[in-house]
Symmetry: C7
Subunit: 94 residues, 7 copies
Amino acid sequence: MKIQPLSDRVVVQAQDAEEQTASGLYIPDTAKEKPQRGVVLAVGPGRVENGTKIDMTVKAGDVVLYGKYSGTEVTLDDQDYMIMRESDILGIIQ
Amino acid sequence: MKIQPLSDRVVVQAQDAEEQTASGLYIPDTAKEKPQRGVVLAVGPGRVENGTKIDMTVKAGDVVLYGKYSGTEVTLDDQDYMIMRESDILGIIQ
Amino acid sequence: MKIQPLSDRVVVQAQDAEEQTASGLYIPDTAKEKPQRGVVLAVGPGRVENGTKIDMTVKAGDVVLYGKYSGTEVTLDDQDYMIMRESDILGIIQ
Amino acid sequence: MKIQPLSDRVVVQAQDAEEQTASGLYIPDTAKEKPQRGVVLAVGPGRVENGTKIDMTVKAGDVVLYGKYSGTEVTLDDQDYMIMRESDILGIIQ
Amino acid sequence: MKIQPLSDRVVVQAQDAEEQTASGLYIPDTAKEKPQRGVVLAVGPGRVENGTKIDMTVKAGDVVLYGKYSGTEVTLDDQDYMIMRESDILGIIQ
Amino acid sequence: MKIQPLSDRVVVQAQDAEEQTASGLYIPDTAKEKPQRGVVLAVGPGRVENGTKIDMTVKAGDVVLYGKYSGTEVTLDDQDYMIMRESDILGIIQ
Amino acid sequence: MKIQPLSDRVVVQAQDAEEQTASGLYIPDTAKEKPQRGVVLAVGPGRVENGTKIDMTVKAGDVVLYGKYSGTEVTLDDQDYMIMRESDILGIIQ
């Protein structure tokens, strides 16, 4: 993994629909803003608000849900990643 | 239940229109932004504002009303859930 | 009354146009954003701003004016209600 | 007068174009956002900002100018009123 | 002069294009948001921010530049005025 | 120079494309939001934030870069100027 | 390098798609908002928030990822640069 996200961003390796169905999560294709699921690979140091650093909640290894249109896709060494702000993450699958 | 919502989000299991009518709540299909009703399954830790955590008001088990277009639908283990911010919840049915 | 509104929301039972005309309030149908009138049935605890709870101004029993497109309509036990934020209320009819 | 405005709202009785011309104020019909003129009938207690109530500047009896699309029209006892925020008032005619 | 502007508003008597050209200022008609020039006739007391009144910078008699679409036109006693916020004023011609 | 800019505005004398190319800066005509270059002629006193004046960074004589659609064009004594906020300035050419 | 960026802006020398592929980063042309990659050449002093200067995270020499539509392109001495705010930078490639 070669990307160090800035501020409160996280790098996520998305799990595609097949993987998601296999693990029990089904997201219909017709949903307008459908959530997606992935594994957190790297987290930023957190954003600073009024001089105080806000700690990150998610950590590397977490499986997270996020909106379909959240974040930005990047491809590095033939691998797809998502970079998004932590506020775009809906929840952690436990 | 397998989703731990982040920040001030809640996971809600929606009750469909039939259930709602049975329990006395009728929401017309023609309403432009019609509220919906569901049971809270999980709540986040609350959001942080200026370094202070804002406690959540709703708790697991609450039956809540929310706008039709609030939140994001997810399906996990063949079960539909909604993930929304507490600020999208209009009220608690008592 | 079965809805406990959250934050600074209020539950209002709208008075329809006939009632309004009968009581002397006329709202033309051609008005783009016409106000409406109703009785407050329940009020939330108030919103929290910077750690301080802001008290509500309206109380149950108040007859209030609000914009036509303010709030969300809900129907509970065959009765129509409006849920809106106090900031959507224009004034109290005395 | 039967409306007690909330927050920093004021109730204004508009003076129509004829009255305005008679008193020397002419507002061309072609102006995109033309001001209007009226008499303040009631003022709210003022809005609260960070726990401090902001006093109102206008008072009942003031003749004020405001934008054409400011505020909301209401009719009570066959009389037309405008309810607007004080920040929509441009100035006081002295 | 009969208008007392509220908050940080100012009343300006616009100088039309001919006057402007005569005084050396030329504003092309094709400019999308062309500035205009006028004389300040009255200034408000200043706006209040967090309980502190912000003093006005311009004063009656100043010749100021402002954007074409800034402010609101009013006509009083057959005289045209502009009412705008001080933040709409670009600069003072010295 | 006859314009004293208000707040954090600056008056800039733009250098046209030919001048810019001559000095080595080339801005393609097809760029949607192409930067431009000019000399600062006058700077405002700075804006006030929470009661504290924020000092200006640029000063008269600086050659600055700014977006094509930043600021407002004025013509005074047959000379073209730009009035923009300092936050519209991208950088200083050294 | 001749541009000193203001506030929290950075000057970046973009690496085009070929360079990026050569170094292992592939960004599909069909991506609506595709990230791009470049080398930081200069950084501003940081922005000021409530009287406190916020230090910059990136420094000259960093290879960074940013959105395709972030920043403004400039050409100086026949060389292309991007000027963007640090908040437009997604992460640092290590």
